[in-house]
């Protein structure tokens, strides 16, 4: 397990230069609104490849002063792990503004998956509480991020799938009668879609096994994957599901040309979080119950990662105590104190962290 011992930010978000030594875990980050609590968690989340816990674009990350964005920015983390210490850095160099770079021990990382082998993060944000009242696309992104943390190749698979979708819609809209070209795109789409559906399905089974083992008082959460492709995979061999999807894509060309969408494949999937005790979906749950379900998923994901990647992930919890009742705050504090990885929590009200009983590190942000 890698433990963050020092974090340095340069020209990142609202930090010109910041440097923290981190001696204890868990770490409570407190300060008033706008002080940069979430940005600090975001910085840690960006040490692993991906868009971080805000899903931000590169252009949003540089510090702005006087209406001018800084040309470069950087985040460095110093880690202690059993048998080795290492640093991971990421950022933008002023001479290569469009490419985020990654360094391990100050040497360029040959592959981003090298970092995934060293570090993983699980996060919980207040935005997730709205996911179950919004369109399905947000929930798919939520699921896909969980899968990608466990399976580093998954992000690349999703990216090429997205490129194929865009190519096909563009080709349909151009109205070019080139059946071999469309067939080439649809063949690849079918294979990648089935691979994505299978990985999402596998993941949901793995996560649900971990969720069933969580101790009370966290709700017995269950992730329900509603995906026509995954359902077919449970009944037929992958090759025949692929063939079926190829046919559906081919038959849907006229429709997809009109609408600019793709009416078959992985984008039909949706998820729900069920509280198995009350047999209720997350959309029907109260704000407090929904928050508790999300905390369960986060703890379940941490246990999956610990088992399958042999390291406890860093937990980044933005406002975790808000909306939780007293018993669950207490239980979450106990869980985090016993956690064999490192947790970072934010909050405006120090009173929320009474359960930690002062057995935690503190970072106070003045803003």
């Amino acid at each position: 397990m890698a433990r963050l011992t020092r974090l340095q930010l340069i020209s990142f978000r609202n930090f010109a230069l910041a440097d923290w030594e981190i001696a204890q875990a868990p770490v409570v980050v407190h300060g008033r609104n706008g002080a940069g609590k979430t940005s600090l968690l975001e910085a840690i989340s960006l040490l692993v490849p991906g868009r971080g816990l805000r899903g931000a674009r590169l252009s949003e990350l540089a510090r702005r002063a006087g209406g001018q964005a800084s040309e470069g920015w950087g985040i460095s983390g110093w880690f202690d792990a059993p048998g080795r210490s290492f640093t991971v850095s990421t950022g933008i160099r002023p001479d290569a503004p469009r490419q985020r770079c990654f360094l391990i021990d100050n040497e360029p990382a040959a592959k981003q998956t090298e970092i995934a082998d060293l570090l993983s993060c699980v996060w919980l944000t207040p935005q997730m509480e709205g996911l179950f009242l919004e369109p399905a696309s947000g929930r798919r992104r939520f699921l896909d991020r969980l899968v990608a943390t466990l399976e580093p190749g998954f992000a690349r698979l999703l990216a090429s799938h997205g490129q194929l979708l865009a190519e096909r819609v563009r080709l349909l809209r151009l109205g070019m009668a080139e059946p071999a070209w469309l067939a080439a795109l649809e063949d690849q789409l079918a294979r990648k879609s089935v691979a994505i559906a299978a990985m999402r399905l596998d993941y949901s089974l793995t996560l649900n096994a971990a969720l069933a083992a969580l101790p009370a008082p966290f709700p017995r959460a269950h992730l329900r994957l509603a995906c026509p492709l995954a359902e077919r995979l449970a009944q037929a061999p992958a090759l025949s599901v692929e063939a079926g999807l190829r046919e559906a894509l081919s038959a849907g060309r006229a429709h997809d040309r009109e609408t600019g969408t793709t009416n078959a494949g992985v984008n039909q999937a949706d998820i729900d979080l069920l509280d198995t005790e009350h047999d209720r979906g997350a959309a029907q749950a109260s704000t407090g119950e929904r928050k508790a379900l999300l905390v369960s998923v986060m703890l379940g994901q941490a246990s999956v990662l610990r088992r399958h990647r042999a390291a406890a992930p860093l937990l980044l919890l933005d406002e975790p105590m808000t909306h939780l009742d007293a018993a669950r705050r207490e239980a979450l504090a106990e869980t985090l104190l016993a956690y064999d990885g490192q947790a970072f929590l934010t909050g405006t009200d120090q009173d929320q962290f009474r359960g930690l009983g002062g057995r935690c590190g503190m970072i106070a942000l003045a803003g």
């Binding site: 360094l103 190749g153 690349r156 090429s160 151009l174 070019m176 070209w181 067939a183 080439a184």
Partner: protein
Amino acid sequence: MGGPEIEQLIGQFARLPGLGPRSARRAVLRLLQQPEARLAPLIRALEAAAKTTRVCGLCGNLDSVDPCSLCRDPRRETGLICVVETVADLWALERAGVHRGRYHVLGGVLSALAGTTPETLNLTPLLSRLSGGEVREIVLALPVTVDGATTAHFLSERLREFGVVITQLSQGVPMGGSLETLDEGTLAAALRTRRAV
């Protein structure tokens, strides 16, 4: 710094692959400081290359003769054609010395988003080479990207009627990991002049 002519020259150099504004400036300075030793021979070489270079009507290679010297070489297998995206790929394979047959340069890979269509590819000469009946095998050596895979799939479909064997270079990259090479390449380029943040 220099006059408009010098700045224009630097601008031309900076547009070449592998040269940034800084290295373009250095190259131009070197040329202008040694007009006899460097500049004059370069002008002569540019003129000669511009006058003689043509695109091979058979394979799309660049050479001073058409058909190119590879297409004329009697020791090369005529029944085996390796299809590549660019002349640079052809030259890279030649330097590696791994292919004993002929080549065909497509000049791109299919991409609806980038506007590269079958019509803009150098496809018709390939089809007429195949209709000669001498070719028995096509090796597709296209980039391991989404567009490269689409083009390979498209070609194997379009070339089926000629009854030739169609093979693909073994890349050692699994399907679904097709963007990997591209990402590593761009990342490596961005990190070449790295500095710790």
